[in-house]
């Protein structure tokens, strides 16, 4: 049963992102949105937590990224940008959604 994990909190302010990644098993996906998008920025001290998660697919919500001035060129390699419709598609594609609020 594969899970779509969602994170909407900054990795610097709350433990949601790191806890989520620690609980994401192979074949699952993690979507960063709202303040969670900072976790997908390759420049930050948090980036290694994302690159170190093997077998987990990472997504980030484009509109939230743009709002916060984080360019797509600054994303960690392999992180895929999606829009709101893509969010819905992921929610349908995976067996269940776990929100790390």
């Amino acid at each position: 049963m594969s899970i779509l994990h969602t994170v909407n909190k900054s990795p610097f302010e709350k433990s949601s992102a790191s806890s989520c990644i620690a609980h994401a098993s192979e074949g699952s996906a993690v979507l960063f949105y709202e303040d969670g998008v900072y976790a997908a920025d390759k420049r930050t001290r948090f980036a290694s937590s994302v690159t170190g998660a093997a077998g987990v697919k990472f997504y980030v919500l484009g509109p939230d990224l743009k709002a916060r001035g984080v360019g797509e060129d600054l994303l960690i390699d392999g992180v895929e940008v999606i829009d709101y419709a893509g969010f819905v598609d992921l929610a349908v594609e995976y067996d269940k959604v776990a929100a790390w609020v």
């Binding site: 900054s10 610097f12 303040d35 420049r43 930050t44 743009k66 709002a67 916060r68 001035g69």
Partner: protein, 135 residues
């Protein structure tokens, strides 16, 4: 009798995800009318508030980042940004908006509002304040 006090607004949250950043800006602008010695500090995720290139067209929210450029006109001219907070996020001054003010005493010379300070320096600045408002 009114007396000038040193007021610091401590900004520690990223914009848009919560209302803190916008509320702080509103209070700063209101407080500017009282002619106090005002400064803003950007610490932790607060540094994300003044990053350049923000575009909220896709999230149905007001992009309030241009408002920071107006602070100089309200005589809010000291924006302290903590170096360590920038570094933890892989950011530098180049990633921030260029915020300036015009110095009336020097023939309206344009000066930088942003002052990069270390954590220790910011601690010192906080000690010097009469009031610290946290957002």
């Amino acid at each position: 009798m009114s007396q000038t006090k040193k007021l610091m607004y401590l900004n520690r949250r990223a914009p848009y995800g919560t209302i803190y950043a916008w509320e702080s800006l509103e209070v700063v602008l209101i407080g500017a009318a009282f002619e106090q010695d005002v400064s803003l500090a950007f610490v932790d995720d607060g540094v994300y508030q003044i990053i350049k290139g923000q575009d909220t067209g896709g999230i149905d929210m007001k992009n309030f980042s241009p408002t920071y450029s107006a602070l100089g006109d309200y005589e809010v001219t000291k924006l302290y940004v903590e170096k360590e907070s920038l570094e933890e996020r892989g950011l530098s001054l180049d990633n921030l908006m260029h915020l300036t003010w015009e110095d009336e005493d020097e023939d309206w010379a344009e000066k930088d509002s942003i002052v990069l300070v270390s954590r220790a320096e910011l601690a010192q600045l906080m000690d010097e304040q009469d009031v610290v408002f946290s957002f």
